[in-house]
Each structure stands twice: as structure tokens, then as C-alpha cells.
Symmetry: C2
Subunit: 497 residues, 2 copies
């Protein structure tokens, strides 16, 4: 007789293959598909999604999980695999099927309205669909809360970053709030004393940008035998661990943000590729939630690639790729370009120092929305007030205010905190790596990422979901996630030495 | 209560979506996938294939089909849809599951060996895997023969071209054999009296070839809103009717065969796109077998695009695209280039006059193999003898002899005849179209395919599987498939007027 565990392994392997197929079809839709293929593609993806859902919610799933949980002879990885299966099942079954269905339709509608509403700066048109969606998200959060025995917002957090709670966030974010305002003032004052940033002038043609981008990706450790780089309107990382599909968009006026965007996506991809090979297709072999995922992209981008050492390595490559010369192309100006702090309106363009303030704002507001203390129609006022208080700027419209992100209109509440937790984790993990490998910054200055990749592979990537997110960070760095390393990093990079 | 018919429609719609997903994943594998993605892609495709197979062979399928067959109130299309469902089911269930499994493994093995064996001209290494495969193909053909009450080879034909029989093939091929040898002698003698074909000299860079290729595809009626053109090592037409994926390969020394290859694939694609919109995802909405499919690609390639009128339209475009000039680029030489007859060794490079002889040879040999009258080890001798007799040339090795095609090593017996039946159907259908539209060749000379596409759409494409292949041709042309139009076409094109 096949053990319950073995049956589950086979089932989840099948689900992973369908999920992988969906991922490839989604990539193709964004990158390759002719517009007229949309209808039949939607049908293909819907059919596969239903099959995935049916496997996930099979009538015998609960009893298989119960049997596997008490099964003798499972090793640590297998037991963790069952725990992860159960975690997904718990989320999938806590919400009644008709609510899942309503949510998915309300999401699609509100996301669609958001695209137009944002473009037209017309928040009013978004109120009704967003209110409907928020109501359903609350209902879903309440159902999960009742089922898991936690607070509704904590139940949402757990979906993106298993085990994360408001209690932890409050401690960490209060720590940041005690530091950042004074730090940003000081950093800006110091920045004032430096020469102005010179714009890198030129027309940066797409083939040259792509060539350099691929070169940098390979330098970082991206394996083009297991991945591709393409172009899409909204850049993303897709595919599966052994077939990573990164997309980017080229700005011929300014290549600098796009290049760091590529580094960021490469970090995501190296993480996926480094997940435990023996556990491909099993829940325990997946990435360890959004905080850990973001920690890896930000580690490569903010900690490694924006370091003065790597910028010095980059300078001659940029000159060579674009035929640039003169003061603007010198290391000092490149470093200032990539180390500029600015109080600004848009999260995705924010520097690493002000970014957490954008996140804390969203955390406050979304938590209040889930608790029923903030209604959709009051969002613009609350947003603008919080922006003035936290970031120190006030939006002139809702387009660049509370409508700038797709997350809420698409029903993702509880996701934003992972961006900043990821930045903190990146700093903490990178600090540990530097301590473990004293010559690490020399490596990076030479464009040599072998040792860094080896260390991350061993301490983070290859552990998959063997441990909880908190435990993973604790095992890799010797302490639980906190803001100390991040604060030290900021001080080191942005204040006079 | 849902009717059996409605249940089947839903089931087949789902199967079609999975099949479409598989088609896209297969396209990506050939065109986009990095090599390292092969393993996980194989897993994804295997899981979807098993799901498709399980749906096709669901325990209630037989009774649903029985109920739907006697269901009241079905219209002609719905009844034809049930007939097509039953046809697929009949083929799927005639062969025991373990034989299907053995076949699929023997196929994979023999195909793999063939790739190396062909390269090394080492037929001996292919004997064992081909013998094993042929044994299983015979077993499968015998099982189908017993189940359908027909001869084993007829059962195989029926899988590619429903209703086709050896009895019909013998009549048609005997007709061709009574005509072609004398015709080819006469055409070659006439060709001798013409000036030599001048080679189009130049280096034909890929972007220029691609630009012109796309332009010609659009001229023919390919809709890039519903399809793509890409590059792959082995050109093919993939995708689904509303998202057609054509691939090609560019030879920078000689663009002429590649260009006609594109026209050929475009013909396949226009057929698929023209299938009845109301029946997308249903068996009755599919293309009407391999003979009809090939008839459409060959109609565009051999009948329309190689006509003197279209070659005259093409000449200035070629000159413009490649900056060619001089005698070689004149219409007379282009026409001779595209109308050259030659007794040659390789089927895929053969001209339209000698091509049927390559097919008849294969028909004779594969029929004998299925009947147990020819064994794998005797194939090279039988091949070389038949080549000398039928085509008038003798292979110097097996690479360009009996190992040139992938069909047999991949278990496709009964497929080859559809190439020539398709050529005959193309001539017959095109002749009817010219009679129905007296100005058709003027249209084609102007690069205007609207009327031709409209006529084919109405008479062939939009009928899907409403009628049998024979009935489809009979309704479109007023007579059953025969060689008369093809013979007249050859005489008209290749003999002095």
C-alpha cells in the first residue's frame, strides 16, 4: 500500500507541473502572444487553473494530510513538506468556494477599473468596485482568522510571509520610525554638500543596453542555459526555477534604473534556481515567502550592486557600452547617481532610505481598512495626510497618490510590508556574509560573485521551505529579523564617514 | 438534467484547452526555451498529456457517446460533432493501455537512435529499435483492424485521413504511375531546351529575408494579430487556430526554398484560422485530416505562389529586398528557378512532379512492412531498388536513402500518402476555384488573395469536420478526389504550350 505521504508527493508534483505550465503560458501572454490570442489563452489558463484547484481541494486531501502528519519514518524534509502542504491547504479551505469565486471576479473588475481610473486620475470611479472588493477581502480575512485563531490582518500576512504578525511589524516599524526621519534629514544635509549629480547624456540604444544587461546578469551568476531575458511592458520575473524568464523595458534616455532593475530580477531568479534540487515540485522546495524573496533581489541590487565597489567595477563597462566619457561617467558621479536620496511621491521610484516610509504608510492604511476603521472613500485624504507626515511630500493628485499601486485594487492586502522586511533581511544577511567572508567586497569589486552565490546558496537558497521564514533568517544570520543591520548600512552609505 | 451531448461538449472544450496549452508549450520548447529547461518542460507536458488521456478515456465516455448518438434534437453540426468524438474515442480505445505505453516508449527510443544513426549513416544501429517499434505498430494496427473491421493498414490510414483506404490509394497511385514516368521524361527533355537556371547571387541577410517573408505572409492573408513568425531549427506550424505560430529557418546563401516554405506554412495557418468560429474547441471544428491540411499548404505554395503570375508579382519585390539586378533576377529566370524538375534522392527537396514517386515508394514499402512482407533489415535493399525503378536514381548511402525521413522511426506509418493526396486535392480545388472566379489569376498576379481566401474559407476552411474528407472535396469541387486536375496542372506548367 502506498503511504499517504507518497500519495501526497505524487499529487503535489502533478500540481507543480500544472502551476509551471500556467507560469509559462502567463509569460508567453505578456511577452510573445499576439493580441488576438488572448481569448483562447484565457480559456487554456482557466481550464488549467480549475484543474489545479480541484487537485488542491480534492475530497481526500484532508485525510491524506492527517494520515501523513502522523506517518512514521518521515525525515525532517518530508515532515516539513507535509507542514507546507498543510499550510497551503489551510489557506485554500478556510474560505468558502463561493467567496473565492466572488473575490476573483471582484478583483478582476476592480483591477480593470483601476487601470482607467488611474490614467484619468478619477478616484471616484474606483470607489464602488474597491468597496466591494474590500468587503470580500475582509470577509475572507475574517474566515481565515476564525479558522486559524489569529487576527484577520495576521491571517493575510501569513499568506505572503508565513508566520508574520502585526506584533512583529509594529516593533520593527517603530524602530525604523525612530531612526529614519532624523537619518534622512542628516543624509539630505550631507548630500547638499556634495557636487550635483551629472546626468549621463547620450542615446542608449536597445541592443547596447541588452548586451550590457546580459553581461551583468552573467556576472551576477544568472545561467542563460536555464533562463531568458526578454522585453515586456511591465517587467517581471516568471517561469520556473530551472527555466527563469526575466523581462525588462529599455529607456533610451536613461539606462540607469533599468540596469538596476535587471540586477533586482536576477536576484529573484538566482534564489529560485538555488532552491533545493531534490525537492523540485514539492511545497518544501519552494521559495520561503515574499520577505525572503525580496531579501534576495534587494541583496543583489541594494547591498551588492549599488556598493561603491561594484559601481567602480561597472564604470568602465558603462563607458565601453555607451561610448561615454567625461566627468559624468566617472565613478564618483556614478556613485552619487545610484546613492541619491529624495523625498518623493512614488514608491517604485523611491530610494532605499525613504522606501520604508512608503511601506509603513501603506501598512497603517491597509491594516485600518481590514479592521474596518478606514473606508475606501476616505482613502485619498488619509493617504495625503500620511504622506505629508511620513515622507514629507503631498501628492497633487490621486494618480500619484493612493492610486499609484496595483496591490489594493487587485486585492493584495498584507503584501506591502514584505518589501521593507525584505530590505531589512537583505542588509542583515549581507552583513553576515561579509563577516563570514572578509574579502567579499573585493570579490564584488572584481565582478566575482562565486563566493557570495555559494554562501547564499548554502545558507538561504538551498533551504527552501525547510524552516519558517523567521527561522531561516535566524539560522543564516544568528539572530531574528530586525532593523539594526539596515540602519548601520544606511549610515555607512549615506552619512559622512 | 444536462444532456449527454452538452456534457460531452463541455468535456471536449476542456480537452481542447489542454491540447492548446500543450501546443503552446511545445512551440516554446522548440523556439524559446533555454536548453536547461528541458527536463521540467517534459514533466509539465507529460502531466498535461496524462490529464488529456484520462479525460479522453474517462469511464463514462462510452455511455455518454452512446446516449448522445441517439439524443433527439441535435442539428447537423452537433451530430457531426458526436461522430467526430466517437472517431477519436474509437482510435483511443481500440489499443490496450499497456500497448500505448510500450509504443510511446519504443517511439522515443527509435527516434533518438535515428538521429545519431542517420548522422553516422549507420543503419545497423537502427535495426533493433525499429524492429521493436514496427512490431508494436503492427500489433496496434491489428488491434484497430479487429475493432473497426478493416485491414490493418487501412486502420492506420484512418488515423491520419479518416475514411481513406488502400483500395482508393491503389486506383489513384496507379493512375499517377501510368502518367508520371512519360511525363517526367517529356518535361525533362523540354527543360533541356531552355536556358540554364542562373543562380541568384548575393548574401541574403536574415532581417531582409524576414521582412520580405512577413510581407508575403500578409499578402497571402496571414493575420499577425493572430499569429507570429519565428525561427527554429526544424520549421513547423504550431499553436492554435487563433494564435498561429509559424517558424522558419533562413539560409543566407539561397533564400528561394525558404520563401516558398513560408508560403507553405502560411497555407496551413490560414486553413486553421478559417475553421468554423462557432465550433472552436470541438472535434467538429478541427481541420479535416492531413490530406486536406496538406491540400491547403500546397494550394498556396504550388498552385498560387509558384504560378507565373505570382512569380511576376514577386520579382520586383525580390529585387527591392535584396538589391538584386541582372538576368538572374528577371521573371523568366525566377520562373525557371521555381519550376525546375530533377530526379533526386530527397523527398523534402523534390519538385512537385517527382514528389509523388517518392511517396508511392514509401507507400509500397510501409504497406509491406505492416503486412509483415518486408522486415526492417531488408529495408535498405528494397528502398534502393524502388528508388532506381520509380525515381530513376540510386542512393549512395542510407542517410540519403531509407533513413532520410523521421516518419517511420517515430512510428508514423500511413502518413506519407497524404502528401500526394494533398497535392492532388490542391490541384483539384484550385482548378474549381479558377473556374468559379475567372479573374483569379489576375488577382494573384496583383498580390490580391482576398477572393481566393474568401472562396476557400467558404468551401473548405469553414466546413471543419462537418463532412468526411472525401465528401468535403466532393462538395467543394463537384467530384471525388482524383489525379486529373493534378495531371493537367503538370502538363500546363511543364510541357511546351
Amino acid at each position: 500500500m502506498t503511504s499517504a505521504y507518497k500519495t501526497l508527493e505524487a499529487r503535489f508534483r502533478q500540481m507543480s507541473a500544472i502551476g509551471g505550465a500556467l507560469s509559462m503560458l502567463g509569460w508567453d501572454r505578456s511577452v510573445m502572444m499576439p493580441p488576438g490570442g488572448g481569448e483562447v489563452r484565457a480559456e487554456q489558463m482557466a481550464v488549467l487553473s480549475v484543474m489545479l484547484h480541484e487537485l488542491q481541494n480534492a475530497p481526500d486531501m484532508a485525510s491524506l494530510l492527517d494520515d501523513a502528519t502522523v506517518e512514521n519514518g518521515l525525515d525532517g524534509w518530508q515532515a516539513a513538506n507535509v507542514r507546507e502542504m498543510r499550510h497551503g491547504f489551510k489557506h485554500a479551505t478556510a474560505v468558502p468556494a463561493d467567496l473565492v469565486d466572488k473575490l476573483s471576479r471582484a478583483r478582476a473588475k476592480s483591477e480593470m477599473v483601476w487601470r482607467t481610473a488611474r490614467q484619468d486620475d478619477d478616484f471616484k470611479s474606483l470607489i464602488a468596485p474597491m468597496k466591494e472588493l474590500l468587503g470580500l477581502v475582509r470577509e475572507s480575512a475574517n474566515a481565515k482568522a476564525a479558522s486559524f485563531g489569529v487576527a484577520p490582518y495576521d491571517a493575510l500576512l501569513d499568506g505572503f510571509d508565513p508566520g508574520r504578525t502585526m506584533a512583529q511589524l509594529d516593533v520593527i516599524f517603530d524602530d525604523l520610525l525612530g531612526f529614519l526621519p532624523g537619518f534622512i534629514d542628516a543624509a539630505l544635509a550631507h548630500q547638499e554638500t556634495l557636487p550635483n549629480v551629472l546626468k549621463l547624456e547620450g542615446s542608449f540604444d536597445v541592443p547596447a543596453q541588452e548586451r550590457l544587461g546580459r553581461q551583468i546578469m552573467e556576472t551576477l551568476g544568472f545561467d542563460f542555459n536555464h533562463g531568458r531575458l526578454d522585453t515586456s511592458e511591465h517587467p517581471f520575473s516568471g517561469g520556473v526555477p530551472d527555466d527563469s524568464r526575466i523581462t525588462t523595458r529599455y529607456d533610451t534616455e536613461d539606462f540607469t534604473p533599468g540596469l538596476m532593475g535587471l540586477v533586482h530580477e536576477t536576484g529573484h531568479s538566482i534564489y529560485e534556481r538555488g532552491l533545493p534540487l531534490d525537492w523540485r515540485g514539492q511545497p518544501v522546495g519552494r521559495s520561503r515567502g515574499m520577505t525572503l524573496h525580496e531579501s534576495q533581489s534587494l541583496l543583489y541590487e541594494m547591498q551588492a550592486a549599488r556598493s561603491p565597489q561594484f559601481i567602480a567595477y561597472l564604470a568602465p563597462l558603462l563607458e565601453g557600452a555607451y561610448g561615454g566619457s567625461g566627468e559624468a561617467w566617472e565613478v564618483t558621479n556614478l556613485t552619487r547617481t545610484y546613492h541619491r536620496i529624495e523625498r518623493s511621491l512614488i514608491r517604485v521610484h523611491a530610494d532605499e532610505a525613504t522606501y520604508p516610509l512608503h511601506v509603513i504608510l501603506r501598512y497603517r492604511l491597509e491594516r485600518a481598512m481590514i479592521a474596518g476603521e478606514l473606508e475606501v472613500e476616505d482613502l485619498p485624504g488619509a493617504w495625503n495626510e500620511a504622506m505629508a507626515e511620513l515622507v514629507g511630500v503631498t501628492p497633487v493628485d490621486d494618480r500619484d497618490g493612493c492610486m499609484q499601486d496595483i496591490h489594493w485594487p487587485s486585492g493584495a492586502f498584507g503584501y506591502f510590508p514584505t518589501y521593507t522586511l525584505g530590505a531589512l533581511a537583505a542588509a542583515q544577511i549581507f552583513t553576515t556574509a561579509r563577516q563570514a567572508m572578509p574579502a567579499l567586497m573585493d570579490d564584488i569589486g572584481n565582478g566575482d560573485f562565486k563566493r557570495l552565490n555559494g554562501w547564499l546558496g548554502e545558507n538561504i537558497h538551498s533551504t527552501g521551505c525547510r524552516y519558517s521564514p523567521d527561522e531561516t533568517i535566524n539560522r543564516a544570520t544568528g539572530s531574528l529579523l530586525g532593523a539594526a543591520a539596515f540602519k548601520a548600512h544606511l549610515k555607512d552609505r549615506y552619512l559622512p564617514g
